[in-house]
């Protein structure tokens, strides 16, 4: 039984480069499977899709500007689209060269460096029906062609919402959602926070996850976990003090945007309900109790 287990490192590179420059990036490909893998490197361009970091491969119908970027391998014995083998537990360094033409349009270019398992229809006469599975592993390339190291960034905060807007003090979460709309020509990571304020005092704040929002595209926000180790949806866990709260989403001043504020309320629903039920029970109890006179 053959298996596939491959690792590519790094899983994404982010580059700001001058038009006409040449960039070299080393990738480490490791075969963790117990059998030899036959692999082929390739590069495919893509455009962003949706608001959650998805991509849509556009080849061969990519924007014409993408033709200004060329990809090759710096390895002496290997070229793009040329197969190589990796024995079990073997690693191979692939050196990708990314070159833009001097007259390339300023702006963003997105692609994926793929390592595809080489496969063909394998005729096995003993098996009347036998699909052969294989895999392809990709590492994204985000390339900004710019004449400056600090690209101008501008954005608009959209659809900043909280749910539920009326919340109990004890149970559940208060969730925050929003979209960051990149209105500039270059990608940038979302850097900002949600400040939670009650009675004019900041109660807590949530750091936004620095996920990339691509040029002229939107991205839903996520937050960094309190221990800074991972990402999570933006939310606050109960218990809460009752009252009126405001939440302000603001981005780093370098990303030109206008902060957006929303409000929500915390009420002691369940506590009130419990007291009401206790009161009703007490009233019923005392009404049914026979008079001693």
């Amino acid at each position: 039984m053959s298996a596939y287990n491959l690792t590519i490192k790094p899983a994404q590179i982010e580059i700001i480069a001058k038009p006409g420059s040449s960039i070299t990036q080393a990738y480490l490909i490791t075969n963790n499977s117990p059998n030899t893998l036959y692999l082929t490197p390739s590069v495919e361009a893509w455009t962003p899709q949706g608001n959650d970091g998805s991509v849509k491969y556009c080849s061969p119908a990519c924007p014409d500007a993408y033709n200004a970027i060329s990809y090759s391998l710096g390895n002496a014995d290997l070229k793009i689209n040329q197969s190589f083998t990796l024995t079990p537990n073997q690693s191979q360094q692939l050196v990708l060269k990314i070159k833009s033409t001097p007259d390339a349009s300023l702006g963003d270019y997105y692609a994926t460096f793929f390592i595809s398992q080489f496969t063909t229809d394998k005729i096995r006469n003993s098996d009347p029906a036998a699909p052969q599975t294989s895999a392809k592993l990709g590492s994204h390339i985000l390339l900004s062609l710019s004449k400056t190291e600090s690209n101008p960034a501008s954005s608009q905060i959209k659809l900043f919402k909280t749910s539920p807007r009326l919340k109990d003090i004890f149970f559940g979460k208060v969730n925050f959602t929003a979209q960051i709309d990149n209105t500039s020509d270059y990608y940038y990571p979302i850097v900002g926070k949600i400040n939670i304020v009650k009675n004019g005092k900041t109660q807590t704040s949530l750091d936004l996850a620095p996920q990339n929002v691509l040029a002229h595209h939107s991205r839903n926000i996520n937050c960094i976990s309190p221990d800074k180790q991972s990402l999570q949806t933006c939310s606050l866990k109960a218990p809460f003090w009752p009252g009126h709260y405001t939440a302000t989403l603001s981005l780093n001043p370098a990303i030109k945007s206008t902060p957006v504020t929303i409000s929500y309320y915390i009420f002691p629903y369940y506590l009130g309900l419990a007291l009401l039920l206790l009161s009703l029970a007490a009233i019923l109890f005392f009404k049914r109790k026979p008079s001693s006179t």
């Binding site: 039984m1 053959s2 298996a3 596939y4 287990n5 491959l6 690792t7 590519i8 490192k9 790094p10 899983a11 994404q12 590179i13 982010e14 580059i15 700001i16 480069a17 001058k18 420059s21 960039i23 990036q25 480490l28 963790n32 959650d52 970091g53 998805s54 491969y57 994926t112 496969t119 063909t120 229809d121 005729i123 096995r124 006469n125 098996d127 009347p128 029906a129 036998a130 699909p131 052969q132 599975t133 294989s134 895999a135 392809k136 592993l137 990709g138 590492s139 994204h140 990571p189 850097v191 996850a209 620095p210 996920q211 691509l214 960094i224 800074k228 180790q229 991972s230 990402l231 949806t233």
Partner: protein, 251 residues
Amino acid sequence: MKFRIFLFFFVLISYFLFPASTAQGQHFESDSYIIDWGNFNMTSGSKTSDNYRLTDTVGQNAPGQYNSDGYILKSGFQYIYEQSNQLSFQIDNLEIAFGTLIPGIGSTLFNTITITTPSGHGYEIYAHQNHPLQANLSNFIPDTLCDNNDCDQSVSGIWTLNTTYGFGFNAVGIDSNSAPVGIGTSQYFPDSSYFRQFADVSGSETPQIIMSQNLPVSNQSAQVSYKVNISSSQTGGNYQNAIIFTAVPKY
């Protein structure tokens, strides 16, 4: 006086013989590039004090930021502690061999796919086939349309009837005990009775997402079920095709 002169020369000689320890970085320079690496294989981790929180990663080869005359390159996930900047994908069994098929009795085989993503990134797994299961150009097992003729490469449908013929698949997220939980797959396959066709690139269909998550995962698995059911009129032969799974991080 002699002692003072001796002391002066002793300190002077000691200065040149035993220079004070300095923070030595690695420096590489050419006509085109200058690269300064701060350190090699010393430490990494998260440091905190009452006033500051510092994360550093020392000794990594690839992640980090490099400045040169022509470009800035980042290959890590900035601002949170870097745990991993690699993407791993695994298929536990590449060969799906149905053996002899009996008309009207569906055969189902399984394998498991597993993915681990880098810090700060979710993932997407696409699937497609090079062509339908075929013995030759005119003799093939059609892709399933499911029980209600309502599924294709992008929409799932229920397939439980033995009178529904074709080839299809589903993927159901499983936990570490192989129990079905649907994480990563439920938006594509509500449960294990739902199937769909593999996108057929020979028919100009584009690979379709079958599993995804917006947040990072470690060893997240799904069981993929391959199902084939032939009618009694199906011509005998060796039916083959290639199924390709494509795993990429979310940007």
